[in-house]
Symmetry: C2
Subunit: 193 residues, 2 copies
């Protein structure tokens, strides 16, 4: 956790959001992690996975909802100001997220990813379909500085990276490589998970 | 779940609260369970374990917080109208819950319990100490109709029962036995987990 904190402190000026995706942690542990991180990072960049309550009490910017989470519709109804993203894997789920009033979708995995070994990636074609929907799309899964231009070309509003940054030899240099790759896309948001 | 629903539909008129303590369920599953149960039970009697967010969006009456949960203080600050109970195991935790603004504490296990095999029960003496605190105390753990008078004599404001009712041959008859045992304590609340 201390190492992660150091990395995030270094890289946060170059990203729009930090998604805390510690699925095994209890609400108490997540709360403590956010309290610790918020000493060095702005809360306005912190997105909590699944736990709407932790996002609420820590005043984090938003929550990332998966299939097993509460639905975006009920969450937006109860907490209209909380930024709500939905993790989706298909165009159909994208349509549903839009109808439910989600603020954005996280779609993937676009390319083969270390985090999803053996699973067929969804590919750029499906990404292109989803970006036709009237909702911001953040692409995730196997995204490198090298393939970032293709992702933007498919209409993604931003990218999310996990191992691509955190497992790299020098996370800060890697972030700069992503930022440079994103420069073609004006106003694109970048997101690290 | 269907069997539980039938039991709860039968017994809810005789209890003050139903605590949904399905620790392995996802937020989505808990939400669906509450939606289903709320067709037959009033939401004003439903207490959700740990997931403040599920309680919020379902409009359940309250949330039961354990050690691994969010703290009562931050929850009451964010959601002052949500009824917040803390599961405690000592006088010290009782004091903390009182300071944090919890609405009540759930103390146990008072007697040996099937749910806590091999663990030394906290006993009536510790219960008596805790009921000196200025916060309602619900006793839990090994409580039977037979020992309910002792629990009330120790100052408990109510009792919570799980296997004592759900595993009994006829839950409704068992509930009536508890209700009769509680009658000595005017205004006592009864609570089933």
């Amino acid at each position: 956790m201390e190492q992660l904190r150091e990395i995030l402190t270094d890289i946060h000026p170059y990203v729009n959001a930090i998604h805390i995706r510690e699925k095994q942690k209890s609400a108490r542990e997540l709360f403590q992690a956010v309290e610790m991180l918020s000493k060095d990072l702005p809360l306005s960049k912190i997105i909590i996975n699944d736990r709407v309550d932790v996002a609420l009490v820590t005043k984090a910017a938003g929550v990332q909802l998966a299939f097993h989470s509460l639905g975006a519709k009920v969450v937006k109804k109860a907490l209209p100001h909380l930024r709500v993203g939905c993790s989706i894997h298909s165009y159909h789920e994208g349509e549903k997220s839009l109808q439910d009033g989600a603020d954005y979708v996280l779609f993937g995995h676009v390319f083969s990813s270390q985090s999803k070994p053996g699973k067929t990636p969804k590919g750029l074609e499906e990404l292109s379909r989803i970006t036709q929907l009237d909702i911001p799309v953040i692409a995730i899964g196997g995204i490198t500085p090298g393939n970032t231009p293709q992702v933007l070309h498919a209409g993604a509003n931003g990218i999310a990276v996990m191992s691509g940054v955190l497992d790299s030899h020098d996370p800060l240099i890697t972030v700069h490589a992503y930022v440079n790759a994103l420069k073609d896309g004006v106003g694109k948001s970048e997101k690290f998970i």
